[in-house]
């Protein structure tokens, strides 16, 4: 019982991550009609916002370790700690949450530049061209990160106060063994918040209404004299920010490395398509569905019945859903079918 409860928590947590990553992708596809293979790279850049802020905050005074003579080994003390003592330590400790503040404008900027400079010219091009150009861009972005940060993952710990586990079991009257990391709970809440914000933005604002109308029928909206192009630029910016924030918040769970975007790329496409192309709700639902099924399939009891099931469950579910529901969970007819 406890173990199933924990696996459902895992599933919700995974699902939140999948949904958040897929959200931007489906937004861009639904509105702009662009298959963005660089979406994973945006996720990765977000995570590296956290890495960068952390390394800026920990710029250190280096005291040479005199016992080592062959090369320069240093004991490093961050200047922030030297100047501000405990306050400095605390700021460094909170580097990951703080980097959200940095990530929002930065990712927005990156998104706008990407859209204006490149993606815009590919709206009317075939999907094949979009795939090639965005894949090329993704490679370039990740190679640049590799050039500056190396290929090895970089640890980005969460603040100390939330580094451990919450006694979820004790709160709910379950066993003492039911604990869950604070940061994962925060991640879950955070993604719910972002998803809700994106939905609210699209459904409650005029801007969002136009964008949704554009998703349905771009030509008509354009004929009505509304500048759709400009709005699309902003939508792309928002997608970049959402992907970036997903990356920032994921950094403590998965120490970032330059390749993490590619690792999530295929998965996020599967989530989007299972949800149904162009459907935000579908992407979120698919994210949670796949997350929970993946967690349950990884249980030893399930694995002993079906060896290797945890390796393929996501793809298996994708196949079954696409066969039962032709356009995924909530896809619309005629979108991305030709």
């Amino acid at each position: 019982m406890d173990s199933i409860f924990l696996q459902i928590l895992n599933g919700l947590d995974k699902g939140a991550a999948y949904a958040l990553i897929a959200l931007g992708l489906t937004l861009v596809f639904g509105t702009l009609g662009v298959v963005n293979f660089a979406h994973g790279a945006l996720f990765m850049l977000g995570a590296f916002c956290a890495v960068s802020l952390q390394s800026i905050l920990t710029i250190s005074k280096k005291v040479r370790d005199e016992s080592i003579t062959f090369f320069e080994a240093y004991k490093e003390t961050p200047y922030l700690e030297l100047w501000w003592g405990d306050t400095g330590t605390m700021i460094i400790d909170w580097a990951v949450p703080l980097s959200i503040l940095m990530a929002i404008p930065l990712m927005l900027l990156i998104g706008l530049i990407m859209e204006r400079g490149l993606i815009r010219h590919f709206y009317s091009r075939p999907h094949a061209d979009q795939i090639l150009v965005t894949f090329g861009l993704a490679i370039v972005l990740q190679e640049l990160i590799k050039y500056y940060f190396g290929a090895n993952p970089i640890p980005t710990p969460p603040p100390d106060i939330v580094a451990g586990s919450a006694a979820v079991g004790a709160w709910l009257g379950l066993g003492d063994n039911v604990v869950y990391p604070w940061w994962r709970l925060i991640y879950f809440l955070f993604s719910m918040l972002i998803i809700a914000a994106v939905f609210a933005f699209l459904h409650l604002t005029t801007f969002g209404m136009v964008v949704r109308a554009g998703m349905h029928d771009r030509e008509t909206v354009g004929l009505l004299g509304i500048n759709v192009e400009k709005r699309f630029t902003i939508v792309f910016g928002i997608a970049a920010v959402v992907a970036g924030l997903a990356g920032v918040m994921y950094a403590p769970i998965l120490p970032p490395d330059y390749h993490m975007g590619m690792d999530f790329l295929v998965l996020s496409f599967v989530v989007v398509v299972v949800g149904g192309m162009g459907s935000l709700g579908g992407a979120v639902a698919a994210g949670f569905l796949l997350g929970i099924l993946q967690s349950v399939a990884s249980m030893n009891e399930v694995k002993s019945l079906l060896p290797g099931i945890d390796q393929i469950i996501i793809y298996l579910v994708a196949v079954v859903i696409l066969l039962v529901r032709p356009r995924g969970l909530m896809g619309r007819k005629g979108v991305a079918e030709d």
């Binding site: 094949a128 090639l132 490679i139 050039y147 496409f269 599967v270």
Partner: protein, 380 residues
């Protein structure tokens, strides 16, 4: 558009054959004339030519073709282990097996179109990859890859009294399939495969596939059941992939699961688009570019760059080396990424489109003399 005649096709084939067979000569100046890379050009050429029959003609973008490549390789190695070191049964069985897999996967995946189709094929290939890497290890030898062993059965060889000391090599009736003989074997199959693809492109069947690409709904309304055509195209291109996989095992008898990973499927997609999807030669050019980068650019280092720029004055040479170094060796991915972007930005339609534009320059100059409305470019 009139059907090109068999005669035209023969002319193309003569040129193509000459070009492929003389590849070791004309690739020498760029350092790509060693057997392994030549073999890879030919093998991936077959893979891409086959992929292009599906994607180029029907527009159905399969993201799981690497599965057939892997199935072909595994079948071939098993044929070497159980039947004979002769390559012919291995090739035949691999193509057949890949065809069976392609039929099964295609039958299911083709119930959907567009990106839904792409994801279905991707999902099947990823399942094959993940299982081959882990639980199917008894069949695939997992991470290490399936290899030959001294104590393999090789029933047919034993029947004919052929025995080997140490690990045997793959042969074509006694001719070892490594080095240049290996390349020429692959090259002959590439030429045959290309010829078949040419005939398909120029056949009524090919026309129907193109019609599906431009407007499937209309096809259906006119009374055509498109599914059998699509499935045939899918199976044919899967068999090409199986052949390529078999040849990988023929020239180097080891089959690893990575061959089925999505990156491998993605590679053939990129090769085809890069060269020009739907053109006959384009995919081959894409193969050439990507494999050349992977094998030659990745191997450059400061030492070689210094030699390369030795003709420059010392200080200029140093600057040139410093500037180029991030783009070669461990930076070869960066160069490849930039190349993808540049080609697709400036040459929509791939390298072939670029060539067509260059070829059109003289004509344009002539047209400038006699102003005439430019004819609309052919629908892609």
């Amino acid at each position: 558009m009139s059907m090109p005649t068999l005669k035209n096709d023969l002319a193309i084939m003569v040129l193509f054959t000459a070009a492929v067979l003389s590849a070791p000569l004309w690739l020498a100046p760029i350092g790509a004339d060693y057997p392994d890379l030549l073999q890879k050009f030919a093998i991936y050429g077959i893979f891409a030519v086959g992929f292009n029959i599906l994607f180029g003609l029907t527009g159905y973008l399969s993201f799981g073709h690497a599965a057939f490549l892997g199935v072909g390789s595994y079948t071939a190695v098993w044929s070497f282990k159980l039947l004979s070191m002769n390559v012919l049964p291995a090739v035949a069985l691999s193509v057949l097996m890949a065809g069976v897999f392609a039929y099964l996967i295609g039958f299911i995946s083709l119930r959907r179109s567009g990106i839904y189709f792409s994801i279905l094929t991707l999902a099947f290939a990823q399942m094959c990859y993940n299982l081959a890497y882990s639980v199917l290890t008894p069949i695939t030898n997992g991470e290490t890859g399936l290899q030959l062993a001294n104590d393999d059965a090789r029933v047919i060889d034993t029947l004919f009294g052929i025995s080997y000391d140490g690990l045997p090599s793959t042969t074509l009736f006694g001719l070892e399939m490594t080095g240049y003989p290996g390349f020429y074997f692959c090259a002959v199959l590439l030429i045959l495969g290309f010829f078949l693809s040419l005939r398909i492109f120029h056949s009524p069947f090919g026309m129907k596939l193109r019609a599906i690409k431009s407007n499937q709904t209309r096809m259906v309304y006119t009374g055509y059941n498109t599914k059998p055509y699509l499935l045939t195209a899918f199976v044919i291109s899967g068999m090409y992939a199986g052949l390529a996989g078999a040849l990988l095992a023929v020239t180097d008898p080891l089959a690893g699961a990575e061959r089925m990973q999505w990156t491998a499927s993605g590679e053939v997609v990129l090769m085809t688009i890069l060269g020009g999807a739907g053109t006959l030669i384009g995919p081959l050019l894409g193969v050439g570019i990507i494999k050349y980068f992977e094998n030659i650019f990745s191997a450059m280092n400061v030492q070689q760059l210094t030699e390369m720029f030795a003709f420059l004055p010392d200080w200029l040479g140093k600057i040139a080396v410093t500037l180029t170094n991030p783009f070669v060796g461990e930076g070869w991915h960066l160069t490849l990424g930039l190349l993808f972007m540049l080609i697709v930005i400036f040459l929509p339609g791939g390298v072939m489109e670029g060539m067509r534009r260059i070829a059109a320059i003289p004509r344009k100059l002539k047209q400038r003399a006699v102003p005439k409305p430019t004819p609309a470019t052919e629908e892609k």
